[in-house]
């Protein structure tokens, strides 16, 4: 930020506090329109879910052998979205990247709400949702325990840990900022922030323990974020379905997750910056860095696409070859080519600085990347199952139903509703960390200014 000369000189400690605290004022009409759209989508999703609960999974489009479909696609998509939050808040923190300070809170909140969204889908998918607790190891009358050799149980532990740790990380980062908001707020907000700041005053003792605690949380979250999507990838890689059974899956999924997550951060930051007038704090420099991150992970993803196709051909395994041929030229060719174009070709536009520094251009690209990454999961899950070449139902057809699409739309409503409620009630940009990268007020600076 300040080190790069990208922040205007009028941005001082006081400016930062006021600018970010102002985002917590009365909502504008635009905010209510967005919130209304999110709640409408959620209502559609809840309605479809109620029908599904009443009449069973037959309402979804499952057909043999495609028993993992839109719900699991959405699960992997939302877990993936979550990943860039931890990358930006924890990994870039350990690397001391100054530019992360203006964007990490949005990314971190996105992480928590995306994991909350992802966690719904396995519960919806299991059929008898009221028995979800069978996944938890608890003493029961049958003396049964979960099978810890199953990737699905690894997944439960990984997602549960990820949700807990990322929530703790978000709340911990919020405490000094809530205290700053408390000290400039009035009315009911002052009471809310006084309660949630849990007595934070910024004393040397508080900072001493806080900075250490934050460092260790970041150090714990860093391997966690890499493990979570690796474990999600093993849900597939441990099976023998062609297109799934590959050692490439863990790094491929982690890179894809960060790619889609960074794209979603851009999608969210563009309207927030405009709506909350944060142009002086979230600058083009921040978007350019996010774009570079997007480009880097996008290149890993497109390299992975090439690798898995090459390996399918080079292995000489007829089933692998048939599976990948079906992906490209079978009945789901449109899904595969949407994925290839959005994820494999579009990121190359980010080589150009002009594109990286165009907010509108980045917003459009980020939406296409989100679409592409949803289709990537659809291709991996649905198309691989539909194209299983060694079953009697070779190249089965699969059609998602209104229940699938309705619940998927509801998940977007659920995610955006929580996100919008968060950014209006808690600082969407870190007040203390943005100040950390500004030059501190000193007597020499004051003399030079005078």
């Amino acid at each position: 930020m300040a080190q790069t000369g990208s922040t205007p000189t009028r941005v001082t400690y006081d400016f930062v506090t006021r600018a970010i605290a102002n985002t917590l004022g009365n909502p504008s009409r635009g905010y209510f329109v967005l919130l209304g759209a999110a709640v409408t989508l959620l209502a559609i999703g809840i309605t479809c879910l109620l029908f599904l609960l009443r009449y069973g999974l037959g309402l979804a489009g499952y057909s043999h052998p495609v028993y993992w479909a839109v719900f699991i696609t959405c699960f992997v998509f939302w877990v993936g979205i979550a990943h860039s939050g931890t990358l930006i808040s924890a990994i870039l923190y350990l690397f001391r990247s100054g530019w992360r300070t203006a964007v990490y809170r949005t990314a971190e909140a996105m992480t928590v709400f995306a994991v909350m969204t992802a966690g719904l889908f396995p519960l919806i998918h299991i059929g008898r949702q009221w028995y979800f607790y069978w996944l938890i190891p608890y003493p029961n009358e049958r003396g049964l325990w979960p099978n810890f050799k199953s990737p699905l149980i690894w997944d439960e532990f990984a997602i549960g840990t990820y949700f807990t740790v990322s929530t703790v990380f978000l709340i911990m980062g919020l405490i000094p900022d809530i205290a700053a908001a408390r000290d400039v707020a009035t009315g009911w907000r002052k009471k809310l922030y006084a309660l949630t700041a849990i007595g934070w005053r910024g004393t040397n003792e508080q900072w001493r323990h806080y900075t250490r605690g934050y460092l260790y949380l970041a150090a714990l979250a860093t391997p966690l974020v890499l493990s979570v999507h690796s474990v999600v990838s093993w849900d597939f890689a441990m099976a023998i379905v062609p297109g799934w059974h590959a050692t490439l899956f863990a790094p491929y999924f982690v890179a894809g997750a960060i790619y889609s997550g960074v794209a979603m951060v851009i999608t969210l930051l563009v309207p927030i910056r405009k709506l909350f007038h944060l142009e002086d704090i979230i600058t083009v420099h921040h978007f350019e860095n996010l774009a570079k991150l997007c480009l880097f992970t996008g290149l890993i993803v497109s390299f992975s696409y090439v690798t898995e196709n090459f390996v399918a051909w080079f292995s000489g395994n007829a089933d692998e070859r048939a599976g990948f041929w079906f992906r490209a030229f079978g009945s789901f060719w449109w899904a595969s080519w949407t994925m290839n174009i959005c994820n494999g070709l579009l990121p190359y536009l980010l080589w150009f600085r002009k594109v990286r520094t165009s907010i509108t251009g980045l917003f459009v690209i980020s939406i296409f990347v989100n679409i592409g990454m949803w289709f990537e999961r659809f291709v991996i899950i649905v198309v691989s199952l539909a194209g299983e070449p060694y079953t009697h139902w070779t190249n089965a057809n699969y059609n998602a139903t209104w229940a699938d699409w309705g619940i998927m739309a509801g998940s977007f409503g659920w995610f955006f509703m929580w996100f919008l409620l968060f950014v209006k009630n808690f600082p969407a940009v870190s007040i203390s960390e943005v100040k950390e990268v500004l030059p501190p007020p000193t007597r020499a600076k004051a003399r030079a200014g005078a």
């Binding site: 003396g143 205290a179 700053a180 714990l220």
Partner: protein, 182 residues
């Protein structure tokens, strides 16, 4: 709502007498800390700042936070619980598949890892809260200014009325914008 006395003692320690200086500049704050430490008042200091700064940490020269021990103990406990959970449950209801080991360590490492991170993170938070609460108990209820979370730095010196005048002089001499007794 009235808080029980035992809790009130913890969360609202009695007021501490002293002098509070409000600073607009980081280097002036550092100078005040150094002067007070040189005068033998290092143990009576509380420094407020809107952000953590290395200059302040160096001037105060506090020992490293013990929070890391909480992280270590929590992480090791979590790893142990993960190992116990997986191995005990496997042998309690053995499912033998293809003659392979009932307790298979390699996949269980994943559960052990996740539990290490989970317990490590939760105990870090507990350690942070416990140590910060302990420190505030030690300091008592000290004077505060809402500008300390915005753009001002603060130095509070615990002292009796007999020393307050001298402390005010030190803080003003270092460049405090405001000085007041508490």
């Amino acid at each position: 709502m009235m808080m029980p006395k035992a809790l009130a003692d913890i969360f609202h320690p009695p007021a501490t007498p002293g002098v509070l200086g409000v600073f607009g500049h980081l280097d002036a704050t550092v100078e005040a800390i150094e002067k007070l430490k040189a005068g033998g008042h290092g143990d009576e200091l509380t420094v407020y700042s809107p952000i953590p700064r290395h200059e302040l940490e160096a001037a105060i020269a506090q020992p490293t936070s013990p929070v890391r021990m909480w992280t270590l103990i929590g992480g090791m406990t979590g790893c142990g619980i993960g190992a116990w959970l997986t191995l005990y449950m496997s042998y309690d209801w053995p499912v033998v598949v293809g003659g392979k080991p009932v307790g298979s360590i390699l996949p269980y490492v994943i559960i052990m890892f996740e539990m290490t991170v989970l317990f490590g993170a939760l105990t870090t938070i507990l350690g942070l809260l416990f140590n910060a609460l302990l420190a505030s108990r030690h300091q008592g209820t000290i004077a505060y200014d809402p500008r300390f979370t915005n753009d001002k730095f603060g130095v509070f010196v615990r002292c009796g009325a007999d020393q307050a005048g001298a402390m005010e002089g030190v803080l003003r001499g270092a460049g405090a914008e405001e000085v007041r007794r508490a």
